[in-house]
């Protein structure tokens, strides 16, 4: 019984530390590649770079979000009633894991609380890329 609890404890803490690492990795990628345009607090830049804070582009369906990272975005979009028109560069040089980590980071920060993005989900969409 004690053994069982110990294993449970170890696996929980292993899981928790993996989560912490995923969060830290995601944040590091965010700071390196995203922060300049989307700002430290995810508020973006009026008229140019859309906010990630409370944005349905971020917290909504994952496919569209993953595609924005892999393919970039070259159209004017509307977020929370305001329009934004700056081109977003493709970030396909990031690995599947890096894309999953940074998207999980933005989906669980800046007032968003959506489920994480998995590496496999990125891999599938990258293969489908035209």
């Amino acid at each position: 019984m004690k053994k069982g609890i110990l294993i449970l404890f170890i696996s929980i803490s292993y899981f928790a530390s993996a989560q912490v690492k995923k969060e830290a990795d995601g944040k590091a990628i965010y700071n390196q590649y995203c922060l300049a345009c989307h700002q430290e607090d995810g508020t973006g830049v009026p008229n140019l770079n859309p906010p990630l804070r409370k944005s349905d582009w971020v917290g909504g369906e994952k496919t569209r979000l993953i595609r924005v990272i892999l393919e970039g975005l070259n159209e004017e979009i509307e977020v929370n009633g305001e329009s934004y028109n700056r081109v977003m560069a493709s970030h396909d040089f990031l690995s599947d894991k890096q894309v999953a980590d940074v998207l999980t980071y933005i989906r669980t920060n800046f007032g968003n609380s959506a489920e994480p993005v998995k590496e496999e989900e990125v891999k599938v969409l990258r293969k489908k890329k035209p």
Binding site: Y33, L35, A36, P46, N85, V87, S90
Partner: protein, 430 residues
Amino acid sequence: MKKILLPLSLSFGIIALSSAFYNKPSIDAPKADNITPDADNGGIQLAKGFGAVVVAEETGKARHIKVLPNGTIYIKNSNAKNDKGITVLKDTNGDGKADVVEAFGAYGGTGIDIHNGYLYASSNSEVFRYKLDANGDVIDKTKPETVITGLPDLRQHEAKPFTFDESGHIYVTIGAPSNVCQEKDRQKGSPGMTPCPLLEKNGGIWQFNADKLNQKQEDGVRFATGIRNAVALDYDPASKNLYALQHGRDMLYQHYPEIYSAEKGAELPAEEFFQIKKNDDFGWPYSYYDPEKKQKLLCPEYGGDGKKLYTKAKKPIMAFPGHWAPNDLLFYHGNQFPAKYKNGAFICFHGSWNRAPLNQAGYFVAFVPFKNGLPSGPYEVFAEGFAGGPEIKSPGDAKARPMGLAEGPDGSLYITDSVKGKVWRVIYNK
């Protein structure tokens, strides 16, 4: 000869008629003497001796502004929702506050000015004009004439600010739809293109005939090149020169952390103040200006290492810290302000978004004294506090961002804000 003379004399007649309206303030134009500044100067801090009255609180996403000789104010808005692309403000009782607020125009844009009895306004791809009546009102708000059409609107540096000289020309900025002309814009590691193909139709200032309709880009002349984007643009009749301020490039630190620290990336490159002559080349995208070294340096996308010089470009007449975003320039010719301001330059810094991880900066109006067409001293802070706090972490936090400048008939200075369209009128208290 007669054939030439007739249209000539006709056009002189028109100019004479319109300049009567254009140059002379009407008798009942608002005077600063009758105005009491707001107790808090509308939430901004001003140079000693100056006060401000809020003309209007919310006019839309305001860009550039023009004040007519009779005091009527026209403001171009970047957003044309509900056909409010241009705001008209009038202060009929002379207390400094607008009591008539109207709007028209189905397109967003930046530029607005007066020329030969017409109100000119620009979208991101065209320049339009509206005939004004003797009261300075637009005669037909729904049917402007098209002066220039089909300019590239590529959703980056897409504003088309403009200014006029005294010889019948209009100068229009056509910004570069790119950060630094990489093969893949703003992507780390993507090389710069040599020669940069964007420069043929973008990244410069084009000169057109101010009075001819339906001109295309090919009908104009590329007056100056190598300018990434110049939202602040003004012709100074006192020195007979064209001037502009450039928005310098981004991403030195983000893309080259091995060369530039975060601090260097926030301060570099300088925002450059240009005096522009025909066929000048200011060096975008191959170079940027380092204000410490007082040199143009080769950009790392083109083989630069933070040290290699670039010698083919004309240098600025003055340099400001990086990313402050100069968005309007006004040469002051009024008599209300103290003598040192006469013929000097006011510059509206919209404020940065790309100095992170450092705090954002630049949300203020500067003054630069001028002598013989060149700066005669360092810049001074003329108006600040627009953003509403000492430290701005993200531009979205700014309560207001100074955007446009105009001189009133009595020498008052008008300032617009791009967040909600607040308009200040700055007067000298004596």
